[in-house]
Amino acid sequence: MKNRQPLFHVVKRDHAGPGQQVLAYVAAVALALAVGAVLLKVQGVEPLTFYRQMLTMGIPGSRYPWRAVENFIRLFVPLLITSMALALAFKMRFWNIGGEGQFIMGAFWAGFAAMKLGDSLPQPAMVLVMALCGAAGGGLYGVFVAALKVRFGTNETLLTLMLNYVALYFLQFFAETKTDWNFFLDPASARPKFAKFPESAQMMTVPAGPLNLNLSLVAAIAICVILYIYLNYTKRGYEIAVVGDSPNTARYAGMKVGRIVIRTIFLSAALIGLAGAFHVSSAGILSASPTNDVGWTGIVVAWLAKLNTAGIVAASLLITVLQFGCQAASATYPSIDANFANLLQGVILFIVLAADFFTRFRLVRTRKEGAK
């Protein structure tokens, strides 16, 4: 019988240097833009003009350029915090697909605080209470999945996925039910419509020149720095890395794996809830679908960045530019809509996922064995 062997086999290799990886990503983005350019051309849109408008996000030539920057920040902050939080869970190989649900719960409970406590608190205290309520709401919604996973081995990917929709319809119930007790709605409106938050529940802004700097951006950057230190320079952060690499090693080393998982997932989900709270207090109003898909996009960002903190900042900037830019540019082109950003995002990720293989593995020519 002939002994057939494949020509190549695959061998793991040490991670390629950062230079090579950055190169792979730049190539991925460039390639995705090229694919996009072909598609745009097919639609009869001049790609270069479209891309110029997309990358400048319609800011130059706008009558209110600073307003565009403020809107950009509003889109950027929730994505940044959510991606950081998801990366925390992914580091432990806990597949938290439930970012959407946790974000909604955070937004809901922050809104609850805003409507209930209303004008009784001064602005900084009110915003802080909302942030805490949002974090608690998101955190509890995530942590009980972690507890089930630890105790019974429940599949967390599927469970968090289901809970996203439970949360969504829970919020929609309050958005669409016009009754006396539903204090979320605007009593003046005959149709069900969320009421605006009281003044004190709006996110603080600091005037920086012509720009009203949203304080949640400062908070988000602080969170990034703290998480970076937490993950790289504390015992608890080290425990996360060990559990992620090998739960058995962690167990032999005497770590309480269950407790570490529950603690970390609470932190992760609470941060996502916090992002939800920041989002609604910046908007000053609840909405029936507040997430802007950050729970999904955050997964993309965390993965693009290889769960690396600095990388997450860069990747969430990139994705926000794509999304916000496509929105702005599509205003000029009726045949291209904001979903074009999703298409580009998909292509970028496909290429990065494929390129990852070549930084993780090597192809080795199979040597002829048994040749006489």
Partner: protein
């Protein structure tokens, strides 16, 4: 019109009509998951199959061409998934979600791009004819049941036939049993000479293709009217992922599950009519918030998921290697 029997018949009829796309999505995902892969890209795959199947079906004025193209284009999504996760060892969750993002992006890009030139379904007369109700002789004359089960369009019957065939294939054929071995323990299957790579590729592509057929159904059900804001699939792909769990990875149970989920899905539209037709026993229906009906499929699935993990029962159909990549060199 408000005759109670009529309302009930129409309600039951719609449970079948509106929800069979779920069955396609579910059966497709069962095939994929039995190969050991968790594909979260059902929504995107169905959207791709839907739009290309519809456009091709209209252009060729044929339901068969539409079916074939939706199967093939959705199958390409499966090929992409297989290429990335099987050959290139990429993470399955991330890849699946990306297929959804990409698929929906493509759906809107193509739809918006065609714009004014969008083909109307009414212009393709044999497509319309192919989709029109096919009354099964004899059976369709039965009271209530005849209308509810035996006077549907051909895609309804096809969906049920595919589900039964896949059930037979997975449970009673040699290749089907080998496929399940690949999903349970790829290393063991590999060691007895099963070509795991080939099995995964073929079934990921075929499963995705079946999802695409459901997308095509959805397109025809929506009479092919493209809206810029809402995709035809409208979350069915996600419900299908839930339904796989609810049906315990069994295609025949998936038929039953489709009807259960479909019951809630349709109830949110028919609650008012049913409450009006049966004010005594069903009057309370109109008081239930519609959001509860929407949430119930997901809520029930979450409970099933938790309950089955608590009981660790023997009969769970969840493949043991679900979601794990198989890296041959690490056997």
């Amino acid at each position: 019109m408000n005759d109670p029997v009529n309302v009930l018949t129409l309600f039951l009829f719609n449970i079948v009509l509106v929800n069979i796309p779920l069955l396609y999505g579910t059966v497709g995902e069962i095939v994929v998951e039995k190969a050991g892969s968790l594909d979260l890209g059902v929504e995107g795959t169905m959207a791709v199959g839907a739009i290309f199947g519809y456009l091709a079906g209209c252009a060729a004025n044929s339901i068969l061409v539409g079916l074939a193209v939706s199967f093939l284009t959705a199958g390409l999504c499966g090929l992409l998934f297989a290429l990335l996760t099987v050959s290139l060892q990429a993470n399955q969750n991330v890849t699946g979600l990306t297929i959804t993002t990409f698929g929906l992006g493509l759906y809107f890009f193509v739809g918006k791009g065609i714009g004014e030139r969008w083909p109307a379904m009414t212009a393709a007369d044999s497509l319309v004819k192919g989709y029109s109700a096919l009354e099964i002789p004899g059976l369709s004359k039965l009271p209530v049941i005849g209308k509810v089960l035996f006077s549907h369009n051909v895609l309804v019957y096809l969906g049920v036939v595919i589900a039964v065939l896949v059930w037979w294939y997975l449970g009673f054929t040699k290749t089907g049993l080998r496929l399940r071995a690949v999903g349970e323990n790829p290393a063991a299957a590999d060691s007895v000479g099963v070509n795991t790579l080939l099995y995964k590729y073929v079934h990921l592509i075929a499963g995705s293709g079946i999802m695409g057929l459901g997308g095509f159904y959805m397109a025809l059900y929506m009479s092919g009217s493209f809206e810029g804001s809402n995709c035809w699939i409208n979350g069915y792909g996600w419900i299908a992922i839930a339904l796989v769990i609810f049906a315990n990875w069994n295609p025949v149970l998936a038929i039953l599950g489709t009807l259960v989920f479909g019951f809630f899905n349709t109830l949110q539209i028919y609650a008012g009519a049913l409450a009006g037709a049966f004010p005594g026993p069903l009057g309370w229906l109109s008081a239930v918030p519609p959001q509860l009906y929407k949430a119930l499929p997901f809520l029930i699935t979450a409970i099933v998921l938790v309950a089955s993990s608590v009981r660790k029962r023997e009969g769970s159909g969840q493949p043991a290697a679900l979601g794990l990549n198989y890296f041959r060199e690490e056997r």
